[in-house]
Symmetry: C3
Subunit: 192 residues, 3 copies
C-alpha cells in the first residue's frame, strides 16, 4: 500500500486491465523527447527573436532636399563644404542629422546612397559623396549654358559609426527652391 | 484491485522494482511543461506567420519607361499633366497603374522612388514627383543647347493608399523612344 | 506483484491516496499532443530555416566606378562595347564580375540597377543597360556644350543566371577620373 500511495493514477479511460496493457509507453523516452523539444523550442525562440530584431534594425532610410524653404544658390565658397539638406522627407532610424548633413550608420551593413545636384547656367556644380571624409563618387557640370543637372549613387558596406555626407567643391554652386532639385538620400539594403 | 484497474501501466523497460524507483518523475510538473511548450509553439507559429506575411507584403516594386513603342515628345501642354509610363519593365504587387501613371501604396511603409526625364535641345523639361498631388522633388532643364537630362529620387513614408505619380509641368517637354530615356520606378524598402 | 513491477512510480509529491485521485490525466491524449507538438516544431524549424536562408540569399549588392585609377575617356569605338567598371566599391555575393562588367543574377528575384554616365563637352555620350544583351533603358547626351551627365535606372525581375551589363554605343564617349563620375551598381530588392 505504501507503494500504491506513490502511484499517480493515470486513467486511460478504461476499467479493464486487458485494455490497459496494450499501450505500453516508454515514459523515460517520452520525457527525453519532451526535454529535447524544450531545447528545440528555445533555439527557435532565439533564432526568431534574432530575425525580428534584424528586421527592425533594417529600418534605416532617409531623404532630404537642400533648402527647407526659400530659393537660392549655395556656394561658391573658398573651401569645400558639407552640404546640409534641411527639408527632411523621411528619416527612419534617425541616422541622418539635418544639422550637419551627415548620415551615421547605426548598424554594420550594405547601404545605398544617391544625391542630385542642380545648378543654374554659367556656374560650375561639383558635389562628391564622402565616406568618413573620403570621396567615393562625384557629380560634375562645368559652366553649363543652361542648368547643370548631375547625380550619382553608390552601394557601400559600412561599419557601425561610418559617416556619409556630400560635399560641395570649392568655387562651385548648387541651386534649390521649393521644387527641390538638389537632394540626398539613402537606405540600408541589408545588415551584415 | 479496483485501484489497479485504473492504473495505466507504463513500462520503463525494467522488471525489477529497484530499478523502477530511482527515476521519480513529477508528472504534474511535466504536464505543466507540456502545456507551457504548447503555448510557446503557438506564439512561435504566430510570430513566424507574421514574418512570412511581412516578407510577402514587402514584394512591391515597379519600373516603367514612358513610351511602349514609337518615338516622340510628350508635351508641351497648357496645364501640368501626370505622365503615364506605358512600357512596364516590372510591376510586382501590381501597385503601379499603367493606365493612369499612378502608384498606390498597398501597405504602410517606407518607399524609394526615382524618375528620369530626357528632352531634346531647345525645349524646357520639368517633371515633379507628387505624393497625393503635392510636389516632393523635381527635375528641371531650361532650354538646354543639347539634350536635357535630369532626374531625382526620394525616400518617402507612405500610408496604405497614398498615391505617387510624376507630373510634367505646363509648357515643357519630355522625349522618349525605344531606347527608354524617360522612366519612373520605385519599390518598398520596408513596411512599417 | 508482477503487475506492480511494471508500474513506473510517478510521484506526484503526495503520500495520500485522496490527493492523488483528483488529477486524472489522459496520458494517451497527452502523448498524442506531444507527437503533434513535435511535428509543429519540425514545421517551424523548416520554415525558419527557409526564412534565414532567404535572408542570406538576399545579400546581393554591388557598385563600381569605371576607372580604378587614372583619368581619361573610354571610347569612341566603332562597335558598341560593354563597359567594364574596375573600381569596385562593393560586391556582396560576388555577382558582379570586374573583368567583364557583367552582373549575373545568383537567385531569381527583383533587382534594382542604375548607372551614371559623364562625358566632356563636344562628345556624344550614350549608354544603355542590357538584360541578356537586350536594351532595357538608356542615357544619352548629344554633344553637350559642357559636360554630358545622364543616368537611368530600372527595376527588373531576373531569373537565376540572367545577365545585366551596360553598353557604350558606337562613336560615343564616357569620361572618368579618380572622382568617379561614371558608375554602375545594383542590388536584389527581394527574391521570388
Amino acid at each position: 500500500m505504501a507503494v500504491l500511495q506513490m502511484v499517480l493514477l493515470l486513467c486511460a479511460g478504461s476499467s479493464l486491465a486487458e485494455d490497459i496493457f496494450p499501450p505500453t509507453v516508454n515514459i523515460i523516452a517520452e520525457l527525453e523527447k519532451l526535454k529535447n523539444m524544450d531545447e528545440r523550442i528555445q533555439k527557435l525562440e532565439e533564432t526568431l527573436a534574432k530575425v525580428l530584431s534584424e528586421n527592425e534594425a533594417k529600418k534605416v532610410a532617409f531623404s532630404a532636399g537642400l533648402l527647407e524653404s526659400g530659393t537660392g544658390h549655395t556656394g561658391p565658397i573658398n573651401t569645400p563644404k558639407i552640404l546640409v539638406y534641411k527639408k527632411v522627407f523621411s528619416n527612419i532610424g534617425g541616422a541622418y542629422d539635418a544639422n550637419t548633413g551627415v548620415f551615421t550608420a547605426p548598424v554594420k551593413g550594405v547601404y545605398y546612397f544617391r544625391f542630385y545636384g542642380h545648378s543654374h547656367g554659367g556656374t560650375t556644380m561639383a558635389v562628391s559623396l564622402l565616406k568618413n571624409g573620403e570621396t567615393q563618387c562625384s557629380a560634375f557640370a562645368w559652366k553649363p549654358t543652361s542648368n547643370g543637372n548631375a547625380s550619382n549613387g553608390v552601394v557601400l558596406t559600412l561599419e557601425t559609426g561610418d559617416q556619409i555626407s556630400t560635399r560641395l567643391w570649392a568655387n562651385t554652386w548648387v541651386y534649390d527652391d521649393p521644387e527641390s532639385y538638389t537632394s540626398f538620400g539613402g537606405f540600408l539594403i541589408f545588415p551584415l
